[in-house]
């Protein structure tokens, strides 16, 4: 393996040159400048690289080093321009330790070859809006944590113990050790303290693994596809607190409270990438978009409930020097007129389903188009069909350089390797500028 310092210090080093060429290719496309050729950059591919090596999804999740190795091998094998995102690897051991309820995973409650999956639910009730707004920290610790992380329940219980009022009992050299000792020596609190220590150790190891993946990828010539990630405030409320059903009904039953909570969250959605910036050295920020697509809500509702927090997030990130990479899940064709308002050449829009020609017409001068070979083709189609589809994308979007090729939602787990390769081959055949 090539030493990182050497790669960085020598512009004559071929791997370093390749890294720089790939980085520039992607950045040019995003800035709507013509690169040397169309970049090919899968946004995510969590299980595909390990599946083709015969590694189960469970082993993928529980063996970070093996998974990262497979991810880099896939980038080499298919000649991608980027390495898969480190944040795509989930800290499943922390989920286990914390007894997370919002997720099910292979090796946990699911079969070994199933992907991890979010458990949709109304984790907070409509009646709790006032508390979430007026006293969010207290709500989080006292009520919310036990719902999503069962292992934290004793902390929540401890804080709610009556007495001791901390100001009185925790106030002197005589009383503080005694009362604090009484509380922390309870068996359930001792257990939670052990769990927290295990979480800290596990997280340190997890993060070290991320850092060495980033270095390994760079040393093999691959910049990261993206570094940190964040979520639009309205999606955060809908995903995590109120659920789809809850938040959609809130548009009628508690619209002002829904909007107030979204507004509260906006600054933190912008700040989130800065909090997890190290060790990525990559300013592209991934934003999975969940509920703003056509079919979920009307244009009027999108304008009222969804667009304000999304636009604020994009502007906030751009102002802070980041390049937002929203993944527009679902069909965003009716929302194109909004996207046209975003600053030109600063955002890379990754599309799932979209009318390609309309997208070119309405946002072709605003943002780089990233995507969107159908996952159904990658899983069940032929290499020829994939090639034809990539050619269509290049024909439509290639003229100003604002195009990056990927599947519509990253590489699907069940993709056929020959179809994944066909995507690259088609780029090499039709995508040289």
């Amino acid at each position: 393996m090539i030493d990182q310092q050497n790669t960085e210090s020598s512009a004559n080093n071929p791997v370093f040159a390749e890294y720089e060429a790939r980085k520039k290719r992607l950045e040019d496309a995003i800035q709507l400048k013509k690169p040397d050729r169309v970049p090919i950059a899968p946004l995510i591919a969590i299980f595909y690289p390990t599946r083709i090596k015969g590694i189960s999804n469970k082993d993928n999740m529980f063996n970070q080093a093996e998974t990262f190795k497979a991810w880099i091998e896939a980038a080499v094998q298919h000649n991608w321009d980027t390495a898969l995102p480190p944040m795509g690897f989930q800290p499943v051991k922390l989920w286990e330790l914390l007894q997370i309820t919002q997720m099910k995973w292979p090796g946990g409650q699911l079969e070994d070859n199933t992907p991890f999956q979010w458990v949709e639910g109304e984790y907070a009730a409509r009646e709790e809006y006032d508390e979430m707004l007026s006293n969010p920290n207290s709500f989080a610790v006292k009520k919310f944590w036990p719902r999503i992380a069962k292992a934290l329940t004793p902390i929540s219980d401890m804080i709610q113990m009556e007495p001791p009022p901390p100001m009185l009992y925790f106030s002197s050299a005589y009383s503080l050790p005694t009362f604090l000792g009484e509380m922390t020596s309870l068996p359930e609190i001792r257990q939670v303290l052990k769990t927290l220590l295990a979480v800290a150790d596990e997280y340190a190891a997890f993060k070290e693994g991320l850092a060495s993946y980033v270095t390994d990828a760079k040393n093999q010539g691959f910049p990261l596809v993206f570094g940190p990630q964040t979520i639009t405030a309205i999606d955060w409320v809908a995903d995590v607190f109120r659920g789809l059903r809850g938040s959609m009904l809130d548009m009628y039953r508690a619209p002002d409270k829904l909007k107030a909570l979204v507004d509260e969250f906006i600054p933190y959605t912008i700040a989130a990438p800065m909090l997890m910036d190290t060790p990525f050295e990559c300013k592209r920020v991934f934003i999975p978009m969940h509920w703003g697509a056509a079919g979920f809500m009307s244009d009027k509702q999108f304008a009222e409930f969804y667009w304000p927090s999304f636009k604020a997030l994009i502007i906030g990130l751009v102002d802070a020097g980041y390049t937002p990479v929203p993944l527009f899940e679902g069909d965003y064709t009716p929302r194109l007129k909004y996207l046209a308002e975003l600053p030109a050449g600063k955002v890379a829009g990754h599309f799932d389903h979209i009318d390609r020609k309309k997208a070119k017409e309405m946002i072709g001068d605003t943002m780089c188009f990233w995507g969107n070979v159908p996952s159904t083709l990658l899983c069940t189609g032929t290499p020829q069909q994939v090639e034809d589809d990539v050619k269509e994308l290049i024909d439509i979007f290639g003229d100003n350089g604002g195009l990056i090729i990927d599947c519509n939602m990253g590489i699907p787990d069940e993709a056929k390797p020959e179809n994944v390769q066909a995507m690259t081959d088609a780029v090499m055949k039709y995508g040289i500028y």
Binding site: N113, Q117, V119, L249, Y252, F296, T380, E414
Partner: protein, 214 residues
């Protein structure tokens, strides 16, 4: 009873107004069957607005909520049981296929199928092909609805259709697949009769199938 006023309140999502009018009309001795019919008519209008892309998921959710609350008020007054009161359009067995635990879409479809007069049996998420077929047989389903959000759902959907063939049951059922990633490729790959990414469009397909049968 001001039929138009009530219907408009339901269609315009004025939940409180609709329910207070319903209570008022019940107290005034309105015929419960006619009252129920107003809600059915309102639902047809809501469905139309959905197809015209005026209404979306929030309105379908609200319609379900308002219908349920109204049923609570009206049902006790109906002479026959609630099941008999509906003119059932057909029987649909619905499930999210093996490996996938997503259920938002399936739940919306189940609710709308029920409100549209189908008898629906929802057997949950992550359901094996054997159980789907056994339940469809026991239920006497006309249609099997297979839901899935993930790409992993493609193969289990195909396996259900293939197993139906193996058991000589393929012609007995219409199979509809639904979910965000469904398209023509997957429809032909799985051998399903149709695919949908839209609840109401799916229900309309089922209605058309049942009309052809009857």
């Amino acid at each position: 009873m001001d039929i138009q006023l009530l219907k408009e309140a339901v269609v315009e999502m004025q939940e409180e107004k609709a329910l207070s009018l319903t209570k008022q009309y019940i107290e005034e001795g309105a015929d419960p069957v006619s009252l129920f019919q107003v809600y059915q008519d309102a639902l047809v209008e809501i469905g139309k607005r959905y197809e015209q892309e005026i209404y979306f998921i929030p309105e379908l959710m609200m319609a379900g909520e308002i219908m349920n609350a109204a049923s609570e008020l009206i049902k006790p007054l109906l002479a026959e049981g609630p099941e008999e009161a509906k003119n059932k359009k057909g029987k649909v067995l619905i499930a999210t296929v093996q490996g996938d635990i997503h259920d938002i879409g399936k739940n919306i479809v189940t609710m709308m199928m029920d409100l549209n007069g189908f008898e629906v049996k929802d057997i949950g998420v992550d359901v094996s092909k054997d159980r789907i077929i056994a339940e469809a047989e026991a239920f006497g389903a006309d249609i099997i609805g297979l839901s899935g959000l993930l790409t992993l759902a493609f193969d289990p959907m195909k396996e259900v259709v293939e197993e139906l063939k193996v058991q000589g049951l393929r012609d007995k059922y219409k199979v509809l697949i639904g979910g965000g990633q469904m398209d023509e490729n997957i429809c032909s790959y799985t051998g399903a009769d149709a695919f949908t990414t839209d609840a109401i469009a799916g229900i309309n397909m089922c209605k058309a199938w049942m009309e052809r049968v009857s």
